[in-house]
Symmetry: none
Subunit: 210 residues, 4 copies
Amino acid sequence: MLEKRKTIPSLVKDPKLIEKRREQIIEAAVDLFIHKGFHKTTTREIARASGFSIGTLYEYIESKEDVLYLVCDAIHNEVETRLREAITFNGTGLKILKMALKSFFRVMDQMSDRVLLIYQETKSLPKEALRYVLRREEEISAIFEEILRKGIADGSIRLDEKHVKLMADNIMVLGEMWVFRRWTLKKHYTLEEYTEKQIDLLLREISVAH
Amino acid sequence: MLEKRKTIPSLVKDPKLIEKRREQIIEAAVDLFIHKGFHKTTTREIARASGFSIGTLYEYIESKEDVLYLVCDAIHNEVETRLREAITFNGTGLKILKMALKSFFRVMDQMSDRVLLIYQETKSLPKEALRYVLRREEEISAIFEEILRKGIADGSIRLDEKHVKLMADNIMVLGEMWVFRRWTLKKHYTLEEYTEKQIDLLLREISVAH
Amino acid sequence: MLEKRKTIPSLVKDPKLIEKRREQIIEAAVDLFIHKGFHKTTTREIARASGFSIGTLYEYIESKEDVLYLVCDAIHNEVETRLREAITFNGTGLKILKMALKSFFRVMDQMSDRVLLIYQETKSLPKEALRYVLRREEEISAIFEEILRKGIADGSIRLDEKHVKLMADNIMVLGEMWVFRRWTLKKHYTLEEYTEKQIDLLLREISVAH
Amino acid sequence: MLEKRKTIPSLVKDPKLIEKRREQIIEAAVDLFIHKGFHKTTTREIARASGFSIGTLYEYIESKEDVLYLVCDAIHNEVETRLREAITFNGTGLKILKMALKSFFRVMDQMSDRVLLIYQETKSLPKEALRYVLRREEEISAIFEEILRKGIADGSIRLDEKHVKLMADNIMVLGEMWVFRRWTLKKHYTLEEYTEKQIDLLLREISVAH
DNA sequence: GATGAATGAGAGTTCATTCAT
DNA sequence: GATGAATGAACTCTCATTCAT
């Protein structure tokens, strides 16, 4: 069930150093990719922005695509971590869900450029890496499935089990919508208004009290 | 309010010919971009697949990005045309909306690779072209706004005017969701089931009878 | 029996032009490879010495190794052509052989740097091209086999058929020896002396009258 | 007349250690050069195959070319040693020569990949090192000169002094021929047959009895 | 209006060598 | 004496674009 994450080989032996350098690479590359896109960013720019030479860059990755993979992976990690940190699993599923939705929309807002990056550049990944990245997305959506099922179990949420996945997907998509369409949405709504409105929409379907 | 669509200069005088050649270009490029992505497709390939030489290609465009613009524009056109053709503006706004939603989801399904293309490659457009393309998207979403307003006017839909835009955006996003997440969604739903379920979700908020 | 020679694809359509440009490439590359070796010669140097840009070079070849193949092929062609031109198939096999040996040693002498080049760089060819180049060598050695057999047939040469190949190989090797060891040999012999001495050696084994 | 062999500087003081490490280097590099060629072998690979780090490698050599020199030198040493071990200087020059030829051809056969290596990579040596390596070859050929002169002196061999060098060179070349052309020759001859045939050829010229 | 040969800046990647630890 | 991370010049190859025919 748990498939290991893709391991990128390195010419450097010290694992601590690898981690440190890769963090530098990710930090530099995220910025560059956001502003210039993956294809228009050169490996030399990545190296320079990371603070070392092109030769050193290639001691820690095997190809430019590896950098993209590292970046996508790191972004997903951050989304998931932030989301999990913001959720306390106390109270009814419904209550948790509301909180989780708020947090999720907030995280999407704060990380909107990075989330956008994933959506636009993911296709440039080699097949295997792509599969892994898509799986990471499912892991985040699984958080919401879990909450929904808890709510179903404690009776605070009314939803057919077979629609749990779709509802979780809807949630993900409404979150990403804030990212994709912020240039329009921000004209009419603050994040808070948007959040409230979409929670309304989602809960109308699944709230028990009716 | 209606800004003209971007005009791409051509070295050729005859407008009929320009249109004909550009259709060839678009047809060839859509296929290539879908399968290889914009960046990995070369202008030579576009020319060859269009049925003429690289020199001729550049008689009808000024840069590779122009081809992307033509392609994005054509896809939006097709989405909008197909959608409009499927809608008859008879009956209550609510009835029209239901029909429009079904048609929209169907069009998204049929054109999913082209819609995906727009989402993934749009960022490679130069700023100005990008603005035009985004505006085309708003034009489609405006169709739904129109229907919603008609429903509000005739009393078949209950929705605060200030949420019309958001509701239209929600519709767009749920349609695109079928495109982005089809690999997951198709495991659990047919297009028809998905359509029905999402219409349920959307109408629960805005249907009058309740 | 006659396997086609390897065809190198070109982006250019005009066959006349391809031939002309490839001749330029060969002429330039032979010089460079002789003086710097294949590995130390850069593609840019080849392009510049050929009289065009690096981009143009790659319109006529697919890889640097293709240039080496073209060069090896051209050298073999020249050896074979020169040798065949120098031989008239009149008289006894023995007489023809003597003349052929003189010509061969002369050709080896005149083309010594190019022959050396083949011996030293051939190993850098990709497998398939290598096989073809080795076959070319056998074709030259076949010329001598042919002469030997003619001499056996007309009674001017006495040699067991099963040693024809070895004798032809010996001839080839003594010719190449003048190439490999000229720095030593030239200290003690002129080309003419060398030729005479080696003909003596070879003929002692196979001459009938004795 | 006897120029010392090239001395490669080392950062390490202990001569025993230098010798030991260089033996490791040679053993590793011979294998790599045979299979991949000099240019396609990296210093990293040499270091790893030698059993130490790249840094350590450079404590014992100054450049990659030094490794090639060490390798060529070692191979020549082995050829010479094996040859000398196989020769007993008892009996007539003619008898010794026959034995020496057999041994030489056998050694060439056993060491064919290493001999081939020298012929193909020698040109990558810097000028000075190249001279040393070529001189080593002359030293081997000098063994045969010595034997020939002994035979001339004791009357068992009839050969003009001024052709001794050429005859020795011919011997060398026929030995190397077994290396260069083994892919053809082995189709028609065993090593023993080849040896016998070539001895015949050579002795026909120089044997006294006639 | 159509052709396609020519261009060359610029891309990703490699690897011999150094030097601080 | 040994290590291996860091370096950057240099490599091969690509491809959007131009322009003479």
